[in-house]
């Protein structure tokens, strides 16, 4: 189970010492999944060929409602989170990318094709999972996904095979002959994902895939999406308003607000600037802060801990030496990450200035 966790579950520069396997009896070295590598050392692929590219994309609805306002953003292959509050323009962007809605101004390309002129071609390459309920209750999951596979252009027998396969991939193998109306919300979400997967898309657009799920269901759905992105080699754009949730599975993040780009970056570039070492001592916090300053580290007080920017491995040594020299009772030394949410919040404040 743990072995199959998506890579992003392991935080970069994890506190696991690299010589752990050496301490184990020889021969029983656990298989080291690439996921367990310190993520910080594996740079993200450079955005070689953007799967999605928009240029000054603007959409104004009748009544002068601006949904997108000069949005220019490129999305690299991999799993990308599209973050924004409700009404930020996520769904409008998805509709434009699907070629269903003409932009007022600007241009959008998906997989190198223009959304306005090549909508049909793009839609054969895309899988789309809508935000809202979109399943008829009175057909079985197999029938439904098979039919939609046909609508994606699959020949009849292929559609049947791929429907069964897609449903198995989302974990609905046993229940696939049941009427969708008898499914739980979590199972319905999985059917929605399976129908998007049935046509073998190159890119999946998932609109709020964890909508309406309980915490366990959310985790399961996110793991599933992470796995599809990591193992199936399908690029994914996940729209969500819950940043803390999807940052676990994303390689990149795109944040939009009021139709404008707040920030677009790879998740590792966020973590590179956001790693801090939290030092907690039972007493002498101010003393330690001064000592660290003398040793060239600027520590900030956060509640009962000191936060030290994590420069490299020697930061641990400096902190350890400082604590030892002062003979302070150290009770916690841990590497923390800012929640990306905080970073965006800071940014958002700046954007509104």
């Amino acid at each position: 189970m743990v072995d199959t966790m998506p890579p992003s579950q392991y935080w970069p520069g994890g506190t696991t010492p690299p010589d752990l396997s050496a301490a184990l009896p020889g021969g029983t070295t656990p298989p080291d999944p690439p996921a367990a590598l310190p993520g910080g050392t594996t740079p993200p692929d450079p955005p070689a060929q953007a799967v999605i590219q928009t240029r000054a994309l603007t959409k104004v609805y009748p009544g002068n409602v601006t949904a997108l306002d000069g949005l220019t953003v490129g999305v690299a292959p991999g799993v990308t989170g599209l973050i924004g509050a409700n009404g930020a323009g996520k769904s409008t962007l998805i509709k434009i990318l699907l070629g269903l809605l003409p932009p007022t101004k600007g241009q959008a390309t998906v997989l190198g094709r223009d959304c306005q002129t090549s909508g049909e071609t793009i839609r054969t390459l895309l899988g789309y999972m809508p935000e809202h309920d979109c399943l008829p209750p009175d057909v079985t999951a197999t029938e439904f996904v098979t039919h939609l596979g046909r609508m994606s252009g699959l020949p009849p027998t292929v559609a049947k095979e791929r429907a069964a396969e897609s449903l198995r991939h989302v974990g609905l193998h046993e229940e696939r002959y049941r009427l969708i109306g008898t499914y739980s919300t979590g199972m319905k979400q999985r059917v929605k994902l399976a129908q998007a997967l049935a046509g073998d898309p190159r890119l999946l657009l998932l609109d709020e895939p964890t909508n309406g799920l309980d915490p366990a269901g959310r985790t399961a759905m996110l793991e599933l999406i992470g796995r599809i992105g990591a193992e199936f080699g399908i690029s994914i754009m996940v729209a969500s308003h819950l940043l803390g949730e999807i940052e676990r599975i994303c390689d990149h993040l795109v944040a939009i607000d009021a139709g404008r780009l707040l920030r677009a970056d790879s998740i590792t570039s966020f973590t590179a600037v956001s790693e801090v070492l939290a030092v907690e001592v039972e007493e002498g916090l101010a003393q330690l802060q001064q000592e660290l300053k003398a040793r060239g580290l600027t520590a900030t007080v956060a509640q009962r801990a000191l936060l030290v920017p994590l420069g490299g491995d020697d930061t641990y040594d400096v902190v350890r030496d400082a604590v030892a020299d002062l003979a302070l009772p150290l009770c916690r030394l841990e590497q923390r990450r800012h929640q990306v949410e905080e970073l965006f919040r800071g940014d958002e404040g700046a954007a509104h200035v």
């Binding site: 046909r150 609508m151 292929v158």
Partner: protein, 295 residues
Amino acid sequence: MSETPAGVIHDLGYRRYDGPRLGRAQIVRALTWHSFRSSFGIGRGVKAKIVPVLACVAMCLPAFVNAFGVARGSPRLFGYDVYVPQLRVVVLTIFVAAQAPELVSRDLRSHVLPLYFSRPMRRGDYPLAKYVALTAACLLLIEVPLLILYVGTIASAKNGHGVWAETRALIPGLGVGLMWAVLMAAVGLVLASLTGRRAYATGIVAISCFLTWTVSELLIQAEGGITSASAGARIGGLFSPFNILDGVRIWLGGTSPGEDANPGHFGPLYGVVAVLLLAACLGGLAARYRKLSMS
């Protein structure tokens, strides 16, 4: 779901599909075929088959009985172009009222449309497929009894001349049936696409058809009936799609006397109204789905 061991998925692997993909035309054809089947309840539950089966039986029964009668020497009672007119109005209304919602309201109700629109089809393709499917279903319902009657009659024909006469009578009948199917499918679909609630959709279609028919009949009766030469009686038929169809039939040279409408020299008007009604229904349907695809 969450109790399914998630790790299993890891081992199964994902297979790419690199084989041939169907083009847009073939996808639309697949949707049309799927819709055509479901308009007879095929591929659906037993309940979905009740109305189509009863409608087919009701339409074919007179043809069967008459075909048997012809074999025993009695004459053919029904004209191909005015085959059991009152029954046809009632059965077709019930069929369209029940099956047009089956084709469009279900998808509206369960919000499946975004899934269609996110696939290669263009926005007009979905209503087009539904329209072709329902037209074909209505056509089948109308023409099969005519063919039964035809086959039964020519089986007892004494010579080639008899067969030829029957065939010449049948062809306009098939034409009239086509006209009915084309117009009634459009009327039924545009009304049914207004709401996702099946019961409402059925009600809207049935009431619209019956009400307009009744109003039209009353107008004609009030003006002295179909034999009356008054303008009121002549244009009274314009208030109901069924009577418009019958008026067009007479205008185009239908020889069997009309049961409902007698357009007289207003014939061209019936033709124009029929075309306008069809255009309005199809335009409305296209506009409806255009709006739905953008929302």
